[in-house]
Each structure stands twice: as C-alpha cells, then as structure tokens.
C-alpha cells in the first residue's frame, strides 16, 4: 500500500516534470505511467469518436491504383509462434453469429459464390509504411444482408485462429463498400502469410484492424476489444 502511494507520488512528480517546459524531455520513453495513461486512453476514445462521427464518410471510396503500380513487397506478420495453418482447409467455415436473425456457417465456396469486389489500393500500416496491393473477396455488406443483424448490433467482433488475435469494428466501417472478406491477393488465392483462407480488408483502416486467419464474425451491442487495441493502440484505426 505504502509502496503504491510512493509509486503514485513518483508518477505525480513525473507529471510535474512534464508540465515544466523544456524538462519534458526528462520524461523520455514514458507512456504516461499509471497516472496519465488512463487519461491518454480516454482522449484516444474521443479521437475514435471524432474519427467515427466527423472524419468518416460511408460513401467516399479510397483511391484505387493500376495493378502495375503494386509494390514489390507487402510485409506481414502473425502473433503465433509459427505461421497459422489449417489442418484441414476443407473443413474450415466462417461462423457468423451474435445479434443476427440468421446465423451462418459459410465455406470458402459459399463465399466465392457471393458478390465479388476487387481493387488495388494503398495499404497503410500504423508504423508509417505503406504499400500498394490488389485484393478480392466478398463485401462485408453482402454478409450483413444475409445474416440480417438486429438494430441493436452496432459492432462486429472479428476473430482469428492466430492465437488470440481479434479486432472490434464499428458497423459503419464494416459496411463501407470497400470493406471485404478477402480470399485473394494480387490475383492469386490469399497466401498463408497474409491470412489464408480469409482475412478482413479495407482501405479505410490501418493494417492492424484487418483481421487475418478469420474464423468468426460476431455482431454485438457492446464495443469489442482487440489484440493491439487492448494494449493501447487506437481502437478505431480509421484513416
């Protein structure tokens, strides 16, 4: 208890240092500590709100590029120890559940028979890099049409089989015409490195919001967390 108080006092002193101009540099490498971090996260929620309500258009399309403009490479990653792979790809299904009138279990063939969208767009990573690549798949809006979510469903939780990686999405971004469940990249089937058999893709979000190795999408009335989001990355990740 005393230790904790001392710790808090130390944090408070650190805050005082930040308040003093010029001495701010002394707070180097500091993510806010127990005292300030919650405040920073609250402001991040305000920024999410601004990004969702003010700086978002449900109809504005991201710029598309010619296939010849594709970047030489597009880095990818997973959080598991080894690359997530399905033991039996034929048995894979996308589960659509939660606050929906019609829960669904969709195979890759089912998804490929649905409307198809393809585009070449710029990928923006939160780290600051970008790369151009082509994607094709079924729009999330087409899934929404089939599962008919309840009016109370305001979010979708996209879950992967890459350890506990997942993302929570606002409904408006999910319904954007360029938000797709991609089963193809650069005219080929989606490679394992990029989330095979199915990944979320949208040029309206940063890369970390686009869940790879999808297994389910659950419609919810409460805001779902996510792998990076729970560690402090902006929840909305809208660009």
């Amino acid at each position: 208890m005393i230790d904790r108080q001392q710790l808090q006092r130390r944090e408070f002193l650190r805050l005082g240092v930040v308040a003093g101009a010029g001495a701010l540099a002394a707070a180097c490498g500091w993510d806010g500590g127990e005292l300030v971090r919650p405040g920073l996260w609250s402001i991040s929620r305000v920024n999410d709100w601004v990004g969702e309500k003010i700086l978002y258009s449900p109809t504005r399309l991201a710029r598309t590029y010619d296939a010849r403009e594709r970047s030489a490479s597009l880095p990818s990653y997973f959080i598991s120890r080894t690359m997530p792979m399905l033991g039996d790809p034929a048995a894979w299904r996308l589960r659509v559940d939660g606050l929906v009138a019609q829960p669904l279990e969709l195979s890759l063939d089912d998804l490929m028979r649905m409307p198809r969208v393809s585009y070449t767009v710029k990928h923006h990573c939160v780290e600051g890099w970008s790369a151009i690549a082509s994607w094709h798949g079924v729009p999330v809006s087409a899934i929404v049409e089939r599962c008919r979510p309840a009016k109370t469903a305001r979010y979708i939780h996209f879950v992967s089989f890459d350890a506990d990686y997942s993302n929570g999405w606002d409904m408006a971004s999910a319904l954007h015409p360029q938000t797709i469940l991609a089963y193809g990249m650069n005219d080929n089937p989606l490679p394992a490195a990029h989330g095979a058999p199915l990944r979320l893709y949208s040029p309206t979000k940063l890369g970390y919001k686009m869940t790879k190795y999808l297994v389910s999408m659950t419609f919810m009335d409460a805001r779902p967390g996510g792998y990076w989001e729970d560690q402090g990355y902006p929840w909305l990740g809208g660009i």
């Binding site: 101009a21 701010l24 500091w30 993510d31 402090g232 902006p234």
Partner: protein, 225 residues
Amino acid sequence: MTASPAPIVRRHHWIVRLTHWATAIVLAGLIASGLQIYEAYTRFGNRGGPYFVSPFDGAQFPHWSRLGGWLAGALNWHFALAWPLVLFGLLYLGYLVRSGEWRALLFRPRDVPGAVEMAKYYLHLRREHPPQGKHNPLQKLAYTSVIALGVLAVLTGFAVYKPTQLAWLTALFGGFQAARYWHFWIVWIFVGFTIVHVILVFVVDPASLRAMLTGAYRGRFPSHD
C-alpha cells in the same frame, strides 16, 4: 543608448503569453512523441521504394528525446497533444485578427528594405541597430514563417492521420509518404527556429523574455508599431 531608464511598455496580451508558452510545451511533447513514432518506420516512401532522400534514414533518436516508450504510447501522446496545438493556434490567430496585432507581425513586401538593413546589422555590415517598432522586419519574417509552419504542421498531420477520408489534403502534399516527409521536416525547421529564437532573445534583447512572462517590457526597443 540613452542614460535614462527605459520606459515600461505593456507589450504582450495574456492570450499571446498563454499561447506562446502552452505551444512551447505542447510542441515539445509532439516532437518527442513524433520521434518515437518515427522509429517504427525510418524511411519515406512505399515499401520497395522509391524513397525520398533523407539524412535520417534508419536513424534512432536518443532515448531522452523520445516520449511514449513504444509506438502505441507515442501515438496516444501525439494524438492527445495535437488538439491543444490546434486549439492554442486558433486562439492565438483569433487574437491576432481581433486585436489588429497581425499588422505588427505580418511580413509584407514593404518590409523587404528593412529586412535587408537588419540583415546587414546582424552581419556586422552596419554598426547601428536600425530603428524598429514592436518587431523588426526580420522578426516579422521569422514570426510570419513560423506561424505558417505551424499551420503546415497541422495540415500535414491531418494528411498523414486520415489519408483516405482527407485524400484531397494528402494529395495536396504529394501523397501519404510525401506528407509524412514534410511533417517530419517541419520538426527540424521548428527546432532550428527555436534555437535561433532563444539565442537572439538572450543576446539581443533579454528584456523580451520578461515581457513574454509578465507582459511588461522594459528594454532597448520600447516603441510600438
């Protein structure tokens, strides 16, 4: 210089003093968190190139100069401090317009001859400090430029923040990576400005420091524009 004590002049309105120091603090935090953010991708250009020419390719800035600890922490600092910068900036610009003080600050074509004289003085090509009002023409040029730079910092920031929603703005700066590039360079111009600014305050007119704190000026250049 006259022997009689310099008169006291009311110089800086409280809005000017508040926004000056608040911007200094906020900007320090924005730059420090920005250097931490930069570390995540230390190049300018799409993956695979081509890349913009930059002397800071692959650079990691010293620990003391970075704020946030890691990318997420730095982003949260950066996006939290960005709004106060906009707010103080608008408050300051609003004051300049309402008070009419922009006239004493804005560098205009007619200031060019005066600016040349000031430059001569600094280069020791002229012995006497040219007479001046609240700000000399070089100060006007510097302050006009730094305000424009602040506006550019905010605009390039938005261009990097929302390259899809504000695609027109991002395109205006030459695209996402170009906007990042300019956003980054603005930092070094700010840093350079600040160094020269502080040196000149202490070397040429130390009384101006007190004026920026208390509002009252008692120094070498008491006249008003």
